[in-house]
C-alpha cells in the first residue's frame, strides 16, 4: 500500500445561515459532519451521494478551498487545516481541482492559452518564452490541438471545455486532484471519452484522486475505493468491487437499486428510495438515514451509528448487523 497522501480526521464544515444584521446567523448548516477519509498516493477514491449530501463541500474542504469548522486535514503528513492563503500557495502546486460545469469553469474573457498558462504565471513556472510550448504540450495531453491556444472558450463544446479544465489542473503537475462530478454535465456520448482521458492521465501520472459523483456506475468504473455519503455523513466505505458485490448499508443498497439495468433480460422494477432527503438544518436524530430506511427500527432514532469495520477495508455506519 502506498503511503497516505491526504487525510481528513473528524472534519466538520458548518455554514452559518439566515441572519443579516438584525437577526444574527444562529442556525448552522452542517454540510459535512465528522468526515474521516484517507487517500493514498496514486489511489482513486470515489465519493458518492445524492445532491446535497455534502460531497462537493467535502472535496473543497480537503483542498482547503474553505476552512473546516473543526477536525484536521493533513496533506503529505503536514497539518494544513488552518493555513492562510499565502501559506497554502505552495500547496496549490501539489493539489488541484477539476470542476463540474465546463461552462462556468472557464473565464469567457481569456484565451485558452491564458487559462492554461495562469498556473505558470502565478507560480512563476518557466519563462515567458517557453510557456506557449508547455501549454501546447498540455493541450496535446488532453487531446486538443495546439491551435486551440488562441481561441476563446465559447468556441468549444462541453467536452472540449472539460479537456481545457483538465489541462489547467494538470499545469502545475499535481499529485492529488479532486474531480468534482467532471462528467455529469456532459452528453453521455462524451462522458466516456472524458472519463477515459481522466483515467489514462491518472495512471500515467500516478495521480491520487478524489472522484466525486452521484452516479454509482461512473464511480465504480474509476475508483479503487468508494465512500458513500448521506446528509453530510459517511454511510459506508468499501473497495470498489465490494460495494457492488456486497453492499452493507441500506442506503448503498438503495442507491444501487436505483441504477437502471441496461440488459432487458435482467430488468427488474427500479426500486425507489422513498421520500426526500430531510432538511440539513434539522437532521433526524440518531441515524440520519432512518427516515427513508426500510430496515429502520426504534433504536435507530436514539443511537447515532459510527463507522465500524465489518471486513478488512469495508466499514459501515449502521446499527443493524442482521439485515444485509
Amino acid at each position: 500500500m502506498n503511503p497516505v497522501l491526504v487525510e481528513a480526521t473528524d472534519v466538520t464544515v458548518s455554514f452559518p445561515s439566515g441572519g443579516g444584521m438584525l437577526r444574527g446567523g444562529r442556525m448552522a448548516l452542517r454540510a459535512v459532519d465528522r468526515l474521516n477519509l484517507s487517500i493514498a498516493a496514486g489511489e482513486v477514491v470515489g465519493l458518492v451521494g445524492e445532491s446535497g449530501s455534502g460531497k462537493t463541500t467535502a472535496g473543497r474542504a480537503v483542498l482547503r478551498l474553505l476552512e473546516p469548522t473543526s477536525g484536521v486535514i493533513r496533506f503529505e503528513g503536514a497539518d494544513i487545516t488552518h493555513l492562510d492563503k499565502p501559506a497554502l500557495r505552495p500547496l496549490r502546486r501539489r493539489m488541484q481541482m477539476i470542476f463540474q460545469d465546463p461552462y462556468s469553469s472557464l473565464n469567457p474573457r481569456l484565451k485558452v492559452r491564458d487559462i492554461v498558462e495562469e498556473a505558470f504565471v502565478i507560480h512563476g513556472i518557466g519563462t515567458r518564452r517557453d510557456r506557449p510550448e508547455r501549454v501546447a504540450e498540455l493541450l496535446g495531453r488532453v487531446g486538443l490541438p495546439a491551435e486551440a491556444m488562441e481561441r476563446y472558450p465559447h468556441e468549444f463544446s462541453g467536452g472540449q471545455r472539460q479537456r481545457i479544465g483538465i489541462a489547467r489542473a494538470l499545469a502545475v503537475e499535481p499529485v492529488f486532484v479532486v474531480a468534482d462530478e467532471p462528467v455529469s454535465a456532459l452528453d453521455v456520448s462524451v462522458q466516456a471519452q472524458v472519463l477515459n482521458l481522466l483515467l489514462d492521465l491518472q495512471r500515467s501520472l500516478g495521480l491520487a484522486m478524489l472522484f466525486i459523483a452521484h452516479d454509482l456506475a461512473v464511480v465504480q468504473y474509476v475508483s479503487d475505493r468508494v465512500v458513500v455519503m448521506y446528509l453530510g455523513r459517511v454511510m459506508e466505505v468499501a473497495p470498489a468491487e465490494a460495494i457492488y458485490r456486497r453492499p452493507m448499508h441500506p442506503y448503498t443498497v438503495a442507491l444501487l437499486e436505483a441504477v437502471p439495468e441496461p440488459d432487458p433480460a435482467m430488468r427488474r422494477p427500479l426500486a425507489e428510495l422513498p421520500g426526500e432527503m430531510p432538511s440539513p438544518f434539522a437532521p433526524p436524530s440518531g441515524c440520519v438515514f432512518r427516515t427513508r430506511c426500510r430496515f429502520a427500527v426504534a433504536a435507530c432514532e436514539r443511537i447515532e451509528p459510527v463507522l465500524v469495520e465489518v471486513s478488512p477495508g469495508h466499514s459501515k455506519a449502521c446499527i443493524r448487523d442482521d439485515i444485509l
Binding site: 478551498l65 492563503k85 496549490r92 473565464n107 487531446g143
Partner: protein, 293 residues
C-alpha cells in the same frame, strides 16, 4: 495526438468584445443613435473652429431673428447665434456627462466590487448607497450644488455623487454572480491572490454590464445637468449650456420658439441616442436575446 477537431477553421478568433460590437451595429436604431452622438461630438469638439460666430458676440440689430440662412437656429435676445451657442452647450454638456461617467464608474466599481468580494463590508457600504439612492436625483444634486459652489468641477462632483450608488449597485450585483462561477474558484485553487482574481477574472467580466450602466449614467447626467442649469443651480447663467439657454428663453418662447426648441432638441436627441445605445448594448449582451438578432 489531437483527437478532437476544432469547431471551425476560421483563421482569426474573434474576442467576446468584438463579437459584441458586431451584434451592436447590426441594429438600425443603434446605428442612427451612434451617428447622432458622433455629430454632437464633432460639434462639441470642433465648436471653436466650425461654429459660424462667437458664442458671446452680440448683435442687437438682429435680436430674436428667426432661423435663416445666416442664423440656422435664429438668434437670441442679445442677437447671439443660437446654433453657435448650442455647439458650445454641447461642449459643456458632453464634458460634464463624460466626466461624471468616469467619476461614477470609477468610484462605483471600486465600491461595488469591494462590497461584493469582501462580504464583511457589504452591509455597511450598501446601506450608505441605499441612503444616497433614497433621494431623488435632482434634489440631491441641488443640495450638493448648494454646498459646493457653481463651477464645472462642482457640477461633476455633485452628479458623480448622485450616480455612483447606481453603478455600485450594478457592480456589486454582477460581482456576486461572478464570484459563484467556478472559474473564480479555479483561480483560487491555482493559488491566485485576491488582487489577481479581481483584476484578471472579475473586472474584465464586469466591463460589459458597467459599459451599459455608463451609457445610462451619461444620459441621466446630461439631463440632470440641464435641469440644474435651468433651475439656476448649475454653472453660472453666462456660460452657454443647454439648460441655461432654455431657462433664459422662457420669456421669449411665445414669439421666438426656436430659442427653446434648439437646445431642447439637442438634449432630447442626445439623451435618446445614449439610451438607445445603452439598450442596444444591453440586448447585445443578453444571452437570451442573442439568438434573435
Amino acid at each position: 495526438m489531437s483527437d478532437v477537431a476544432l469547431p471551425n477553421a476560421r483563421t482569426r478568433s474573434a474576442s467576446p468584445l468584438l463579437l459584441l460590437l458586431g451584434r451592436l451595429v447590426r441594429r438600425r436604431l443603434v446605428l442612427i443613435s451612434l451617428f447622432i452622438l458622433l455629430i454632437m461630438l464633432v460639434a462639441a469638439v470642433g465648436a471653436s473652429w466650425i461654429a459660424p460666430y462667437s458664442p458671446r458676440r452680440m448683435d442687437i440689430a438682429h435680436r430674436l431673428a428667426a432661423p435663416s440662412a445666416a442664423h440656422w437656429f435664429g438668434t437670441d435676445e442679445f442677437g447671439r447665434d443660437v446654433l453657435t451657442r448650442c455647439m458650445y452647450g454641447a461642449q459643456l454638456s458632453l464634458t460634464v456627462g463624460f466626466l461624471v461617467v468616469i467619476a461614477s464608474l470609477t468610484c462605483g466599481t471600486v465600491l461595488g466590487v469591494v462590497s461584493g468580494y469582501v462580504r464583511q463590508l457589504d452591509g455597511l457600504l450598501m446601506r450608505i448607497t441605499d441612503a444616497l439612492m433614497a433621494f431623488p436625483d435632482i434634489l440631491l444634486a441641488i443640495a450638493l450644488m448648494a454646498a459646493l459652489g457653481a463651477s464645472l468641477t462642482d457640477v461633476v462632483i455633485a452628479l458623480g455623487t448622485v450616480y455612483t450608488p447606481r453603478v455600485a449597485r450594478v457592480a456589486r450585483g454582477a460581482t456576486l454572480v461572478l464570484r459563484e462561477l467556478q472559474f473564480i474558484e479555479a483561480a483560487e485553487a491555482l493559488g491566485a491572490s485576491g488582487r489577481r482574481v479581481i483584476v484578471v477574472h472579475l473586472l474584465p467580466n464586469l466591463a460589459s454590464p458597467l459599459l451599459v450602466q455608463g451609457t445610462f449614467v451619461f444620459a441621466f447626467s446630461i439631463l440632470t445637468e440641464a435641469a440644474l442649469s435651468f433651475l439656476g443651480a448649475g454653472v453660472p447663467p453666462t456660460s452657454p449650456t443647454w439648460g441655461n439657454m432654455i431657462a433664459s428663453a422662457q420669456e421669449y418662447m411665445q414669439n421666438a420658439s426656436w430659442l427653446i426648441l434648439a437646445p431642447g432638441l439637442c438634449i432630447v436627441l442626445t439623451v435618446l441616442a445614449l439610451q438607445a445605445v445603452g439598450d442596444g448594448l444591453r440586448d447585445a449582451l443578453d444571452p437570451r436575446l442573442r439568438r434573435l438578432t
